[in-house]
Symmetry: C2
């Protein structure tokens, strides 16, 4: 019954494996780190094998950005959909975002490549979607429309700005505790319902 040696000598790769490696590379070294030869080394295959899965590097970048859009926008939003209270929902979402260092560093790296032709449209959609979702939650809390949008922008730019800072300083720039404290302060400052807001 056992056809493979128990250390399956080399599970063949699929396109998705290259995409996952590219996502990790972006978090560590930005878009420029999505390079065929280094990724091939990391995956322990020849770089020639890359071209069976993708026509060229740009195709990998495009596929990676698609995966990023799906995995880092809709999925986290779905995950907190069950939380009824909007304040709790914001807390859960923010805590998850700040706890995921790799995700935060990747988001900052992609924001820094905003002018790249493949990045531009995806980044625009992701940013708009995240801001709209945050603003909706603030509105549910009782904030008037304009206030909700201002708070959403503030929280989101603080998140991005922090990971931009972390990119610059390296992983030692902030301890896990400091990261959690930053997220807590941010939430305490912006997530209480407005004074006089109606409970529905």
């Amino acid at each position: 019954m056992v056809r493979q040696p128990k250390t399956r000598s080399r599970p063949r790769l699929a396109a998705a494996d290259w995409v996952q490696a590219a996502l990790a590379a972006i978090a560590e070294g930005g878009l420029a780190a999505v390079a065929v030869e280094p990724l091939a080394r990391r995956l322990e295959v020849s770089k020639g094998s890359f071209y069976w899965h993708f026509p060229n590097r740009d195709a990998l970048v495009a596929a990676t950005l698609e995966e990023w859009e799906r995995a880092e926008t809709e999925r986290p939003i779905e995950r907190v959909r069950v939380v009824g209270d909007p304040a709790e929902r914001l807390r859960a979402l923010t805590a998850a975002a700040f706890a995921d260092r790799t995700g935060g560093l990747r988001d900052a790296a992609l924001a820094a490549s905003a002018d790249h032709p493949l990045v531009q449209p995806v980044l625009r959609r992701v940013t708009a979607r995240r801001l709209a979702y945050l603003a909706d939650a603030f509105a549910e809390l009782g904030c008037p429309e304009a206030d909700a949008r201002r708070r959403a922008l503030l929280v989101y730019t603080a998140y991005l700005g922090l990971f931009h800072y972390l990119r610059a300083t390296g992983p030692a720039g902030l301890t896990e505790a400091e990261l959690r404290a930053y997220a807590r302060d941010l939430l305490d400052a912006f997530v209480q319902p407005r004074r006089g807001a109606k409970r529905s």
Copy 2:
């Protein structure tokens, strides 16, 4: 008396020639276009000769950023120092900035490379110096401190944003007339003295 053939067969290059070529390259293709081999082709020398003038590519990038800081910040400011009226001074500076497409595209390209370790400190100084200079002029016009800084930021980001747009669309994105009209609208909206400002 004539020691050189009249088409001076090849005036030897100096480091400054490489810097000038690099400045032109940034305006056209961003920081990534500062590449030894393409610049050598443009200057019609072998790429080996580059390494007589600079130890490596980063040294050329650093020298180019220094020259950019000097030429595109202090020099334009000195040029308008003779203009006594602050409103006129702002108009002269803005008109010059918008008239210089190459300079504007280069500024936008460098702003897009804000996270590059060599660019970061220079860009920070240049931005701070320009904003402070603009804010001072607005203050002279009679704007309170905070208002002056807000206007300076608005005018400066509008300038940067426009050339960012132009980078994306290519040179056909805006005619010279449209460029001048944009600058005029911007000035008309922000450069009248505040109502009730005292003349000193």
